[in-house]
């Protein structure tokens, strides 16, 4: 049939056929398969006198997805029962998925062959019948079959965080520290979903974060480090279908998908050695140490099987890292820290995670990596490298903390009485930041002036809010009825590595 673009605006993927044509969609699900030269999607079929018999009506948006314009050839056929369905159903009888099974399922997801219902069956199955180590390995490998790859002629180092803690701007320090030592760390990051700012959101305040695979392959070997937005690239993209279509609407987050999502993207970018930050604490993804340990060991083992050396750092996350949350405020705090004026928690966490990578690379002895990283910061080499990376990514290498603009609508919160800060709610902080406009409004955010364990006197400033719109500030002030700051200590509580897993070792720095 010939494509006819019609005035149809909708999120739903529907096509229009002439009323006299046979509707090929299945009776129950009303889904049919639409196929262009570029793409295949499941669509719903409507008969309406808006097109001729040889035409198929598509809205703008769907036409764009399919990569077609008016008059192009396009094929609409009855939906074949996806091969993945009987494979998914094996799990009803508690059978294991083989590597072939995983490939079949992931291929069908990639080809747009699964309905919402079938995607839900796959994902809920993983929620209830946890995958074993073999199956998680198969899932990881199946994810890597699709999408772009970025290749380098040398081993790639990486730092990744499973997220869940606000204010975690340490990647902005770790990348220049690692790169300054000569290791290659072209780090891809995500944008924030529920947190005040993702690494990509924060670094975008200082430089461009959107680069093609070719550009990264060209720039990174020179600067040794980059901070780019991974969403722009098409790295092992199948997980995003699962996350967007099922996990988010149903608040699901099966462990096997977490592991496979992360590691498949690392495989696609040539990562060989990775330190994995596991923020653990109240109101985070990992409330208990035990949970973080179990997930760490699984990561280490799956990493080993797919060829990535991983060490996990279970980090303190009962409260914000540093003092600021929000893109501009966090960029400013990261820069300040590299310049020697930042909070101890940001510096320590960055240095300790960098140190683990140095030890993995064999350029520092076990126990000496953090010392080496600290020297790189204190000598100014990390700052120089940071400015070089900003420049290479199209930003102003001479940026100063003061020149980073923040929201002009501001409000100060004071302690209502004397007393120690005993607790800070991560979720409360996130709600306030979201109300202020984070992460979309770069200039919005929160500064917590005091943290857990500090003694404050009535009237001391404990929190400042920043917004670009007065209404957003008012809304945030309304939400901010209870606040609090918190205790500083060494951020790495425990380290779990490949080979010598050393659960007992504590890396708690002195105050």
């Amino acid at each position: 049939m010939k494509v006819k673009i019609i005035n149809f605006q909708t999120e739903a993927e529907v096509v229009v056929i002439h009323p006299e044509k046979d509707d090929p969609s299945s009776f129950r699900s009303n889904l049919a398969t639409l196929r262009s030269d570029f793409k295949q999607r499941l669509v719903r079929v409507i008969k309406a006198p808006l097109v001729a018999e040889n035409e198929l009506g598509l809205g703008d948006k769907l036409a764009k997805t399919m990569g077609v314009v008016d008059g192009n050839d396009i094929v609409l056929t009855g939906r074949k029962k996806p091969q993945a369905l009987p494979v998914i159903m094996k799990k009803y009888d508690h059978k294991k998925w083989t590597s072939d099974d995983m490939r079949i399922i992931v291929d069908d997801i990639n080809n747009g062959n699964l309905s919402d219902l079938e995607m839900a069956a796959f994902t809920l199955t993983m929620q209830y019948e946890s995958l074993d180590t073999d199956e998680t390995e198969h899932l990881t490998k199946a994810f890597t079959i699709h999408g772009e790859t970025i290749e380098f002629n040398e081993p790639v180092y990486d730092k990744h965080s499973i997220g869940g803690i606000p204010g975690n701007k340490v990647s902005l320090l770790i990348v220049p520290i690692i790169a300054a030592a000569g290791l290659l760390i072209p780090k891809t990051s995500s944008r924030a979903i529920t947190s005040p700012s993702g690494t990509a959101d924060t670094f975008e305040v200082l430089a461009n974060v959107k680069f093609s695979a070719e550009e990264i392959q060209e720039i990174a070997p020179k600067t040794r480090g980059m901070l780019v937005w991974g969403g722009q690239l098409n790295l092992a993209p199948v997980d995003s279908e699962i996350i967007t279509r099922v996990e988010r609407p149903l608040s699901l987050d099966p462990e096997s998908v977490i592991i496979a999502s992360i590691l498949s993207k690392k495989l696609s970018t040539g990562v060989k050695h990775m330190v994995l930050d596991m923020p653990t604490g109240a109101e985070t993804k990992m409330p208990s140490r035990k949970q973080a340990q179990d997930l760490s060991m699984l990561f280490v083992e799956i990493g080993r099987r797919v060829g990535i050396q991983i060490e996990c750092a279970i980090t303190y996350a009962d409260q914000i890292v540093g003092h600021s949350a929000g893109p501009a405020l966090e960029a400013r705090e990261a820069l300040n820290t590299l310049m020697g004026n930042g909070p101890r928690s940001v510096l320590e966490k960055s240095v300790e995670l960098s140190g683990i990578l140095f030890e993995m690379a064999g350029i520092a002895q076990r126990g000496q990596g953090a010392v080496m990283a600290m020297e790189i910061v204190q000598s100014g080499k990390a700052l120089t490298k940071f400015r070089e990376i900003i420049g290479a990514q199209g930003g102003d290498p001479n940026v100063t903390p003061e020149s980073i603009e923040v929201g002009k609508y501001q409000s100060v919160f004071k302690a209502p009485k004397d007393g120690y800060i005993a607790y800070i709610s991560n979720n409360q902080l996130k709600s306030i930041a979201a109300a202020l406009g984070c992460p979309a409004d770069k200039k919005s955010g929160v500064i917590l002036h005091r943290k857990i364990g500090e003694f404050v006197k009535e009237g001391d400033v404990i929190m400042e809010l920043f917004a670009s719109r007065e209404g957003a500030l008012d809304h945030a002030i309304q939400i901010a009825t209870t606040k609090s700051p918190f205790r500083q200590e060494g951020m790495v509580l425990e380290r779990i590595g490949s080979g010598s897993i050393d659960l007992g070792r504590k890396l708690i720095a002195d105050e």
Copy 2:
């Protein structure tokens, strides 16, 4: 807004708004809530210049569902997150559903508030996290809140089969046997989904099976028995949403839904005493005796809690009951059996299940029910009652087996060699019957002339096929490459009752 019926034919539930109007549907799911005076549905929204700004475009089919015509008022609003969603999500943490939780979920299903994804989350949760007895009781009770009820001034008796075995025409005998003894048995039945014929399909060959609740309340007390199609009534209808939208497409069949579906409909029709047929054997829903025993005990217990006395009969189902499969052939065989010319398996199973009901009613001593039922058949009272019921339901009370028309395209299969019949595949039989046209084509079907354990000689007729269309017969012949018949024995293997559960007692009749 005002309804405007537009030329839109689709199974999908979509509405059209003017391109300048705000689309109230949610960004991710594209669903909005459509509300008329009668009904509420989730719909997808399309913007197209097919309606004016104050109009909402609906296809014929959706307009009918909503009970609206051109110019009626109708409301389209943003979809509120269903209350049921957080309740469903409780199960991710293995929590129990309370009776209030179940009501919230079932109400949201009934009100058309759940997306396919959310329905799948609910159903898959029950598949993986089996509900306990309390939760199954809550689900059963929640199902009964919605839909029609049929009331009588006296206790209602009932026979139900969980299905899965072809040729199970015994309800056509049991209803007249029970009614002839004066007990009230206004039996509702379903149509076949995958089997050659459901009780409603079979009895429809002889009489009308579509009656309103009022008609049943009027006719049944006079005849004491009826055989009607339950699908016509609106009895505890919520299960059908779950079954049609999720269970069937995903081949799921969680036990708790089986129990709640059956018992809620029984509660809605005033059933107080029920014998439950659990066909158990190779290629049935219950392949193992243990499984059937466990499900039986759960049925008995949930029945006790909701006020229905249940006895379960685990029945032999390694092969077809009687010799025929298909509506007309089964109606003919049932009539023949009541006239004294039927297969022993049909007679025995009918008499034994009827006997259990007589014992439950206290009109026969324990162990004597089947004798009483056999007397009712042999005296001709059951036949007289059967003809009376046929007449009361608008059929010909003088119908003869020969006058029941069967398909004129027929084919005979002969044994290819001498030997005992060792096995008959229920699934193979069902495929042949489906190819012949069952259950839609009443005249189509299969007769198995020999059954498991019989010795046949090369050239003996073992199977006959009947179809109304030559193409269907050809197709069925093609499928029928292997066939077989089977051993006759007393059909009830075991009986599990309320109060005195008597697992040891066997009711295997002599050959």
